[in-house]
Amino acid sequence: MNTQLIEQIFTCVEFGKINEASPYPATMKGQPGSDELTKLALEQGYDPNVILYDALIASMNKVGQKFSENKIFVPQMLLSAKSMSAAMAHLKPYFSSGAVKRKGTFIVGTVFGDLHDIGKNLLSMMVEGAGWEVVDLGVDVKTEKFIETLKLYPDAVVGISALLTTTMVNIPQVITAIREVSPATKVIVGGAPLSADFAKSVGADGYGRDPQEGVQWLDKLAS
């Protein structure tokens, strides 16, 4: 089987081409997007695993790298994530049947007391684009909510975000509670005022300076 469609889906995700109706990017106006091309690929018998790994995950990895290097910015990344989601919707039945497996489950939320979610949302999109199932708990997430959700997904990795110096200090309480109920659960933290030193000092297993670092850390766990 040729790989032309895979390359086309890869390009659509990289440049944020969602579907034929989408006017962005201008250079691809009127062309099919990841939505139509993924549907077509499945109809033509492409292996959904190949679509997921060689087109979607590979492309989102490139997007994350470009974002990390300030070659693209949040709007471009959001449209890439939209394009990825449009393709992913066609793969849902294969996830349900077990024909395609995700790398794991990632529970993520902004720590209690903190209402900021842009960075956390970008991370969620990138992690989903890397082939993980994401359970996004939103903002101002109480410790109990993290614990309840972890009970539903006992093998999940947990991500905790904070933007403010006054709220990052709430993170240790969440980590302590997680350790009490599930000592083996891996926890990664991130957010503007955080650092690797802070992560270490509060007992987190990982720290992500940006979404791409978070994804790379998660992928190491999954490998």
Binding site: N70, L115, T165, A192
Partner: protein
């Protein structure tokens, strides 16, 4: 010895000063009691006097409940929230979330600032401040951030690329609101105001949120109008943006801003030596004393050392101030004291 205002103006002009200019910033209510206890005062005015602070910020008296704050002038969010500057949300779905036709911009009930700004109160507030201070109107006029909340931030950022005409229609209406609001305020305070603080957050810790070209096309035209308007009243313009904004500092200089605030010291390329090397003498800065780590976790000696470093780098051209205007309660007052002590020793 220079007056506060002379020091402020000389700093903006990169001219010699007797000591570095300073700005305490805007301590949030939860931080004020700790500062008052530490310094033995009972008001922000008394604290500023004690610290020999140079800038006196003036809020716009804007009577639009429940926030009564001009930064919350537009009720775009489709969700209930407390609607205060701290609680407002940029990311919640906004009024224009599902609109695509620029002609629909008038479907929103745009507020008339003339109904909510108290001219007499604005004049009285400005006249009450000693003219030796650099009296700075805290206008914000955050047309980009408001445009983000008009759609919901993620949607807005995508609309910038997918439907720039729609984004422009909305941000232009917001800019028009601020131009009218500022006109009312500047007229009311004419002769009693020296500077204004305007701006939007364009940066994250690691870089710009939006590509420079989109900012230049859709956001900076409004910034230019706001800057030119302030200049037409003889006011100096301090432009605020949190985060890493190095790639657009030349743009801000070109737009005519007099100082760039708050130079978030730990953000990418925003450390003082980098800014001095690239922009020293071309503009002035305000901020620079890191409020993400140093002021929160550092010792008073470390804070003093940092201020001495900044003084050496910027004998003028820098108003020394925390790198976030809102002093939060996790900053020990002893570190605020250390910051101001180091200005004169």
């Amino acid at each position: 010895m220079m007056t506060h205002k002379e020091r402020f103006l000389a700093t903006l002009a990169n001219a010699p000063v007797d000591r570095p200019a300073s700005w305490l910033g805007l301590p949030v209510p939860a931080a004020q009691q700790g500062l008052f206890s530490h310094f033995g005062v009972n008001s922000i005015d008394a604290l500023k006097l004690l610290l020999d602070d140079d800038i006196y910020p003036l809020e716009v008296p804007y009577h639009y409940p429940p926030s009564n704050h001009i930064a919350c002038a537009f009720k775009f969010a489709k969700v209930n929230h407390d609607d205060t500057p701290d609680e407002r949300t940029l990311t919640a779905p906004g009024f224009f979330e599902d609109y695509e036709d620029p002609a629909d911009v008038d479907k929103f009930d745009w507020p008339d600032p003339a109904r909510y700004i108290d001219r007499n109160e604005a004049a009285a507030m400005a006249k009450a401040i000693d003219e030796k201070y650099a009296r700075m109107g805290v206008m914000w006029s955050a047309h980009f951030q408001d445009a983000c909340s008009a759609f919901g931030m993620e949607k807005a950022l995508m609309v910038m690329l997918m439907n720039p005409e729609m984004f422009t229609a909305v941000i232009d209406k917001i800019t028009a609101f601020y131009l009218r609001a500022n006109e009312i305020y500047y007229e009311a305070t004419r002769g009693y105001l020296d500077a204004v603080l305007i701006g939007n957050d364009f940066g994250s810790q690691n870089g710009l949120m939006v590509d420079p070209d989109s900012l230049r096309t859709m956001v900076f035209p409004g910034t230019k109008l706001l800057v030119d308007q302030a200049k037409s009243y003889g006011l100096k313009v301090i432009h605020h943006s949190c985060g890493s904004i190095y790639p657009i500092i030349d743009d801000l200089i070109e737009l005519g801003v007099d100082a760039i605030h708050p130079i978030q010291a730990l953000a990418k390329d925003m450390d003082a030596p980098t800014l001095k090397a690239a922009f020293g003498g071309k503009t002035a800065f305000c901020g620079g004393v890191d409020a993400q780590h140093l002021l929160v976790h550092g010792t008073p000696q470390q804070v003093e050392d940092k201020v001495h470093e900044l003084k050496e780098l910027f004998p003028t051209g820098l108003i020394i101030s925390p790198s976030h205007e809102a002093i939060l309660p996790d900053i020990p007052p002893a570190n605020v004291q250390a910051l101001f002590n180091a200005l004169t020793i």
